[in-house]
């Protein structure tokens, strides 16, 4: 059997407040198991506060979480011991639910730094200003991003939908292997959703896997997943095919929470 892109084994996570002087919070992820083969797209759905973003953050290496148990393998290698930038360079990409505004840092300059950091890690030559610009233009077309936005500071004054486009633009530029999309569809109007979904679909391929976190069936009409998982109370309580999403749309999450295994 080939090595999966991502393998999560019995992952337990809690908030680590040691750096902030607070007390450690209770467990948020309570034993996640998930296998994402190369080339597949899996959707993760689940009620608010169930731990979806926490999972995405832990996979991307965000500080402030403590893994109390379990492991995560990325292409068979231990992911959790790698610094966030190392993960990004190795091909992990998180499209943030709430992209950060960084006024004063030019979006284009930032994107070029990021692309070149990733390229040099992969043994590719760094792009000069002209090469980068033409690559950026091409990818901006893909997500229909106006050039004017690229001239601003990173996400500075971007609308919710513009921020999401910028995330997918970054994804297209960085050419990752594992894409974690955290509610990329929320806040998008119908046309924007179609554009973004088109951009994401264009990036689908046998060497790339995606984890789509979403609340809405609508996104999955455009980006059809291979599997759907339901995360509730820090665990995956149900997995199924793409029809599971529709079932959730009809019935909500209540029936699943009822069948949740008692906490151990």
């Amino acid at each position: 059997m080939t090595t999966p892109m991502l393998e999560i084994r019995d992952l337990h996570v809690r908030i680590d407040a040691s750096g902030t002087g607070g007390t450690d919070g209770e467990a948020i992820l309570r034993g996640i198991d998930l296998v994402l083969p190369a080339g597949e797209v899996h959707a993760i759905m689940g009620p608010n506060g169930s731990g979806k973003s926490t999972l995405a953050h832990v996979l991307a290496g965000k500080p402030g979480y403590e893994v109390t148990k379990g492991e995560v393998l990325f292409e068979g290698r231990d992911l959790l011991s790698i610094a966030p930038e190392g993960r990004a360079r190795a091909g992990v990409f998180l499209a943030f639910q709430y992209p950060v505004e960084i006024p004063g840092v030019g979006n284009m300059y930032f994107l070029k730094q990021a692309v070149n950091a990733v390229r040099s890690h992969r043994g590719l030559e760094e792009l000069d200003a002209m090469e980068f610009l033409s690559l950026a233009r091409e990818k901006m077309k893909l997500v229909e991003m106006p050039e004017e936005l690229a001239k601003r500071g990173v996400n500075e004054g971007f609308s919710g939908g513009e921020k999401k486009r910028n995330e997918i633009l970054q994804m297209a530029l960085l050419d990752p292997k594992l894409c974690l999309l955290d509610e990329t569809d929320s806040g998008l109007d119908i046309d924007a959703l179609r554009v973004i979904a088109g951009g994401v679909n264009a990036l689908r391929g046998p060497a790339r896997s995606m984890l789509l976190i979403t609340h809405y069936q609508r996104l999955l009409d455009y980006i059809v997943p291979d599997h759907v998982h339901v995360l509730a109370g820090g665990r995956i309580v149900k997995s199924g095919g793409k029809e599971l999403a529709r079932e959730l749309e009809d019935k909500g999450y209540g029936w699943l929470q009822a069948m949740r295994a008692p906490a151990g």
């Binding site: 610094a83 930038e85 990004a88 990409f93 950060v100 006024p103 730094q113």
Partner: protein, 443 residues
């Protein structure tokens, strides 16, 4: 207690420097003596003095500084500054005295005066006389009085009525190496009504000798004139830089001040902007970057004296290592200054646990129909922003440097000359990276 008396020390130094003043008219000698007496009378401000609460004046004054002698430097010394001055019209002062061979003034419109006070004295003494005295807002400032007494000369820039100078004019105050030396660089600028001037005032030292630079600048923007004033404090690591800057802004005139303090071990800027007539407008932008044990104090005062004045102020500081920053910004709106609008902001970025900053906004509003806002922040680099950048492949030092650049950018963006802007940014980042923060990432 040491028995050193700064007042006695400077009285002796003044007497000993009589030859420097040989040939000056009697009124100037009287002006200087008056200023020296004023210095003795005011004395070195004690710590309980509110204005000197954060920077110890004794630390500056209780030292046997010797007045800087005339010195000459080669043209290659200017290259050492690594600033884009090669093609700029410029006055270069070394140890407070004009260096004609390093200055170049071709290309300035006819009628523009850019020279030294010494050269003007014989023909324009009457114009100079009031301007060489202690500027009015500084009559109670001991160091400003001392500068008037001791400055061997002054740079003078005068733009005639309705003349706009296309090029940016540089006035460079450079000090030659020399231990325990005190220089008094002085600058007098007048833009007559309707005139336009862009000015860069630079203070730099060659080498890192222990020196005191006691600078004094007075600027007048006549009615409807426009003066853009970029003041660069890029002194060497051994320098104590004390500066008094006053700008008087007349009716419908505009004064744009941008002060950038990156150098010196200890520096203190006292900037007073007087909106003296109706419709005067001023912007005050400032940046102070300090690392290791550097200390920067920026004191600003915007004095709205007449109606319909507008001021906008943004001072930003980055402090690393064990550095200390102080911002004290006063906005004064007098009874007679109805319909004034004043905005003040101070933002500070602390890059280390041991860095410190004090931010003291002060509003004194005597008029009732005014619009005033002020705000002040002290913070660290945003953790979420850092993670965002790292999640895109930037390593932690590069991510930090990029965020610091973003913070500096707001003030540096106003420096129009791209080469200069990049040079200033590189210097600021170098200062910080020497302190072990924000390393890398610079282009």
């Amino acid at each position: 207690m040491s028995t050193f008396s700064p007042e006695r020390h400077w009285a002796e130094a003044f007497a000993a420097a009589a030859d420097v003043r040989a040939g000056e008219p009697p009124w100037l000698e009287a002006t200087r003596k008056g200023a020296l007496a004023r210095f003795a009378e005011l004395g070195v401000p004690a710590r309980k003095h509110e204005e000197w609460k954060y920077t110890r004046a004794e630390r500056i004054a209780n030292h046997p500084w010797q007045p800087a002698a005339a010195a000459s430097i080669g043209a290659e010394a200017l290259d050492e500054l690594e600033l884009p001055v090669a093609a700029a019209p410029r006055l270069v002062f070394v140890n407070g005295r004009l260096a004609p061979d390093l200055s170049r003034l071709d290309g300035l419109p006819p009628g523009v005066v850019a020279t030294n006070a010494g050269a003007l004295l014989p023909r324009d003494g009457a114009w100079l006389e009031p301007r060489l005295d202690v500027p009015v807002p500084f009559t109670d400032r001991a160091f400003a009085a001392l500068a008037v007494a001791m400055a061997p000369d002054a740079a003078v820039v005068r733009i005639p009525r309705d003349v706009s100078v296309e090029a940016t004019l540089w006035v460079l105050f450079v000090s030659a190496p020399g231990e325990d030396v005190a220089a008094s660089p002085r600058l007098i600028v007048e833009a007559e009504p309707g005139a336009g001037l862009r000015l860069v005032e630079l203070h730099a030292s060659l080498g890192a000798s222990r020196q005191l630079h006691n600078a004094l600048t007075e600027i007048v923007a006549g009615a409807a004139a426009s003066v853009e004033h970029l003041r660069l404090q890029l002194e060497g690591a051994g320098t104590t830089h004390v500066a008094h800057v006053h700008a008087r802004v007349a009716r419908d005139a505009r004064y744009a001040s941008r002060t950038i303090a990156l150098g010196a071990e200890l520096s203190r800027l006292d900037l007073v902007v007087t909106l003296a007539e109706e419709g005067a407008e001023a912007t005050l932008d400032g940046l102070y970057v300090a690392a290791q044990t550097q200390h920067h104090e920026s004191r600003t005062c915007v004095d709205h004296q007449r109606p319909h004045g507008t001021s906008r102020e943004l001072y930003k500081g980055v402090l690393a290592g064990r550095a200390r920053g102080v911002f004290s910004g006063k906005v004064l709106v007098r009874k007679d200054a109805q319909k004034s609008s004043a905005e003040q902001k101070n933002e500070n970025l602390l890059l280390s646990r041991d860095a410190e900053v004090d931010s003291k906004p002060q509003l004194e509003i005597e008029a009732d129909d005014v619009r005033c806002t002020h705000g002040s922040t002290i913070g660290q680099l945003d953790e979420d922003a850092l993670f965002y950048l790292r999640a895109r492949g930037l390593d932690a030092p590069a991510a930090r440097a990029l965020l610091v650049r973003g913070f500096l950018g707001e003030i540096l963006a106003g420096v129009e000359d791209e080469a200069l802007r990049e040079s200033l940014e590189a210097r600021a980042l170098a200062t910080l990276s020497r302190a072990g923060v924000a390393a890398g990432g610079a282009p």
